[in-house]
């Protein structure tokens, strides 16, 4: 059951609001895609885990 009739303002602005919603979703998707692209561009990522990781340093790789 509907809660009530939509206010005239909502009907009038529905196109604009849907457009803005679409843009925001698109923007979020772009930021997500860009993040994936940036992260995968530099190869595998190793996180800092509070443990000494000699292989991450140049000396450790020698």
């Amino acid at each position: 059951m509907a809660f009530g009739k939509d206010h005239e303002l909502h009907t009038r602005r529905s196109g604009r609001n849907l457009g803005v919603a679409g843009l925001l979703i698109g923007f979020a998707a772009i930021v997500f895609g860009l993040t994936i692209a940036k992260v995968s561009e530099d190869g595998p990522v190793q996180g800092f885990d509070h443990v000494a990781r000699p292989e991450l340093t140049e000396r450790g790789q020698e």
Binding site: G15, R16, I30, G33, L34, I36, A37, E41
Partner: protein, 318 residues
């Protein structure tokens, strides 16, 4: 005359209505944006550094949004003269669809967003160049030059010339000779293109108080300036042919296109108003239409050659 009467005569308050989504999009000058997208894409793809497709897509998108933002700022500032001119009377602000303050907010908001996002997606130099382009178009051209000098088209043309350079910088991180020449190509092309249009368009710029060369220096001088700038355009176009981004197809296209453009500019210079009016500005209209093709083909050929090179297809010599 009192200050009050002066104010009453000079200003017509523009009030915004309920603009649709399309009205806000129209503020961003979509036709200009399409040219920006095309030239920036060419700048990005001819660069010798490969770009991740997603990063490339984002770079072009944010360059286009930056161009749209400067368009919105231009419409906000020029709302008063847009009201006067027939060509611009139906734009969202003079038509009463969007309030000037909303256009300003949209322009500023999208400027910030596009510059920050382009910097994050590519590099700081590309972001800085985009910020400078927006500033140049909105402040230097719209607010300062447009209403004060007939050279407005010449210097303001720089704003339209930056996109391929930004595309190049987005890929490489630095400004190369090729990027400067692509910039110079659009920069030198803009005056003959617009002045050819000004010769046959019975423009209402004069009513709006915008100084156009045809009005301030006369149509004879405009014809001379078209020829001068077309001659100056030739070495830029051929100079680009000497760089690694151009291949044999570009060299052939540049030679042919410049020969035709020069012939057109020469014909415009040789004609006077009596002859032009007799054939309804036939040559001027033809040169204007050709100038569009001239720029499109220059960048189009660069794009074709870059695409072929990426696909491993060499046109000559394997």
């Amino acid at each position: 005359m009192s200050d009050l009467s002066f104010e009453t005569r000079q200003t017509t308050v523009i009030q915004g209505g309920e603009g649709s989504f399309g009205d806000y999009f129209a503020l961003m000058k979509p036709r200009v944006m399409s040219l920006v997208i095309f030239t920036a894409l060419v700048g990005l793809l001819v660069a010798p550094v490969p770009v991740h497709p997603m990063v490339g897509f984002c770079a072009i998108l944010f360059i286009a949004i930056g161009a749209g933002a400067s368009g919105a700022l231009n419409m906000w500032w020029d709302a008063d003269i847009d009201q006067v001119m027939r060509r611009t009377r139906k734009r969202p602000i003079p038509a009463g669809q969007v309030a000037p303050g909303e256009a300003l907010a949209l322009g500023l908001g999208l400027s910030g967003l596009s510059v920050v996002m382009l910097s994050l997606a590519t590099n700081l130099l590309a972001g800085f160049l985009l910020a400078f382009t927006i500033f140049f178009y909105a402040v230097v051209y719209s607010m300062w030059l447009k209403r004060s000098t007939p050279q407005n088209i010449v210097i303001g043309g720089a704003a339209g010339a930056f996109p391929p350079m930004i595309g190049w910088v987005a890929a490489t991180g630095s400004i190369g000779l090729e990027a400067v020449l692509m910039f110079a190509l659009i920069f030198m092309w803009t005056p003959p293109h617009f002045w050819a249009l000004a010769l046959f368009m019975k423009s209402d710029y004069d009513d709006a108080g915008v100084p156009m060369l045809t009005v301030t220096h006369g149509r004879r001088e405009t014809r001379r300036q078209i020829l001068i700038y077309t001659i100056l355009l030739v070495p830029v176009s051929l100079g680009l042919a000497m760089t690694p981004v151009a291949g044999p197809l570009y060299v052939v296209a540049a030679v042919v296109l410049n020969a035709i453009f020069l012939k057109g500019a020469w014909s415009i210079w040789r004609r006077d108003e009596t002859i032009a009016e007799a054939d309804n500005y036939f040559v001027e209209k033809k040169v204007f239409r050709f100038s569009l093709l001239y720029l499109f083909l220059h960048f189009g050929v660069l794009l074709i050659e870059a695409t072929l090179a990426r696909a491993g297809i060499a046109l000559i010599g394997g």
